[in-house]
């Protein structure tokens, strides 16, 4: 990258960093894993910066695919390595409320019962509000697969007692 590109990259991280890190948070089970995913994603974008037309779209694609790859790698490891802190240390910066921290741990435990593909589809469809066609293109799968993956994921989440309980007690912030 030349100086201008480094500047543009830094500006992009400034504008998109938090949104990307929120996605990383939902795709991983603990803060360290989220930071790793976020860092790996930014590394890939930086090394391809001059060839990327739309850094935001590209970084999402990279992040979700990295998360799936990572899940495949760690799935082979013993379960105890699957650390859950649910990001329960919270964020040092202001804005991360106690309520959010309390929601996060059970939500992430519920999301962790999904397959990697189910989890990315749920995050893309419902957190990022992507259409089925968009999700299909991002993950290189068919729109039909997106549909069935999403509905199976929802069925599984509905059967997660902690999440159901959470939902019963949670009043969403408007």
């Amino acid at each position: 990258m030349d100086r201008q590109q480094v500047k543009a990259f830094e500006a992009f991280v400034g504008v998109a960093g938090d949104a990307l890190f929120r996605i990383a948070t939902l795709l991983t089970n603990n803060r360290a894993a989220a930071e790793d995913l976020y860092q790996d994603t930014l590394q890939r974008i930086a090394s391809r910066w001059s060839r990327v037309d739309n850094p935001m779209a590209f970084s999402r694609k990279v992040m979700h695919n990295l998360a799936i790859d990572e899940h495949r790698r760690t799935a082979r490891r013993p379960r105890q390595e699957h650390l859950h802190d649910g990001h329960d240390r919270g964020d040092v910066k202001a804005g991360d409320s106690q309520e959010a921290v309390e929601l996060r741990a059970p939500l992430l435990r519920a999301l962790d019962t999904l397959s990697a593909q189910q989890r990315t589809v749920v995050v893309l469809r419902y957190f990022e509000d992507r259409s089925e066609a968009d999700v299909a293109a991002l993950l290189d799968i068919s729109p039909g697969t997106v549909k069935t993956t999403a509905s199976r994921a929802m069925a599984r989440l509905r059967s997660h007692p902690e999440l159901v309980q959470l939902f019963c007690h949670h009043t969403p912030t408007i």
Binding site: A11, R22, L26, Y38, K93, R104, F127, F167, P172, T173
Partner: protein, 314 residues
């Protein structure tokens, strides 16, 4: 029953205040800043490079090393002195220095620059008081509006505090370069901490390498006042291996004085194109060994008392 909307709300609320660790992006940016120079270093030893000696302002610093290295000093010499003969390149740079010194200081808090950065048409706004920089982009693609880069430029007051005596300015520029290098190195070390990797040693630049890079990196910035710009041109006249082409044209075809220098350490040629009448910077380019050229082409620069809106929306 738990609906898609409920999952959406849960995911939103559970991450609403989560912020990205800012050191991650910073570390990657500084790594790439240095990677560029390092990558070019590896091929440096293999390639012999000959620089065409057209109007080279070969001003020797320190003890005279080469034949005919008289201690001429364009910093204090005026073109009419007669006792010391300046090269054509040095005379041109001193001429630009004099034009810059006669420029009226600009007023208006905000500098508005319409420019073409590589292929992207952008408008940059610099707040001369805080150094904040806004960047707006015309072409589609994200980011169409970059966030405000806080304190991305020095402020008018900070520029005004930089010495305008050419010798002191040279010392200042070298120290500034060294500070930047140290910061980049520290950020990289921090990023690599715990990974078992160590940062590669930084390239060793000469004082003239540092001076040229820092001076040209300052010249384009309209927040820099006339006296400092004038001193920067004097410093360039006293920097070795600076090439000056008085009959150049910028990418838009405007007549320009091209001031350039090849840095064999990182194999990058930095060039700045000045308006011969006003000394204003029309374009800056960075040319790399692999043939890629980065360019910043300035269309217009103005000052405004209030913060202008994004010119590409509404």
């Amino acid at each position: 029953m738990l609906l898609e909307e409920d999952v959406r709300d849960l995911m939103n609320d559970a991450t609403s205040g989560v912020t990205a660790p800012s050191h991650v992006g910073t570390a990657i940016a500084s790594e790439h800043r240095r990677r560029r120079t390092r990558r070019t270093l590896t091929s440096l030893a293999l390639t012999g490079v000959t620089v065409g000696a057209v109007a080279v302002a070969a001003y020797p610093h320190g003890a005279g090393t080469g034949p005919g290295s008289a201690q001429l000093d364009p910093v204090t010499a005026s073109p009419s002195t007669g006792a010391i003969s300046l090269t054509a390149a040095q005379r041109t740079l001193i001429g630009l220095s004099q034009i810059a010194a006669r420029t009226e200081p600009a007023t208006g808090r905000y500098v508005v620059m319409s420019e073409l950065q590589d292929q992207a048409q952008r408008t940059s706004v610099i707040d001369a008081i805080t150094g904040d920089v806004w960047t707006y982009q015309k072409d589609p693609g994200i980011p169409s509006e970059l966030p405000v880069a806080r304190h991305d430029s020095l402020t008018e007051a900070q520029f005004a505090a930089i010495p305008t005596d050419a010798r002191q300015l040279r010392t200042y520029l070298i120290a500034q370069f060294d500070r930047d290098q140290q910061l980049a190195g520290a950020a990289e070390s921090q990023q690599l901490a715990g990974t078992g990797k160590t940062p590669a040693p930084p390239l060793v630049f000469t004082a003239d390498d540092k001076v040229f890079e820092q001076a040209t990196d300052m010249l384009w910035n309209p927040v820099v006042g006339p006296q400092l710009r004038s001193a920067l041109f004097k410093v360039l006249a006293a920097t070795s291996d600076v090439q000056v082409d008085r009959a150049a044209k910028d990418a838009k075809g405007r007549p320009a004085i091209k001031v350039s220098r090849y840095n064999p350490r990182n194999k990058v040629t930095d060039a700045t194109f000045e308006n011969p009448k006003t000394s204003e910077v029309l374009q800056t380019t960075f040319s790399y060994a692999d043939g890629t050229v980065g360019s910043d082409l300035y269309f217009s620069t103005s000052r405004s008392v209030s913060l202008p809106a994004n010119p590409y929306t509404g």
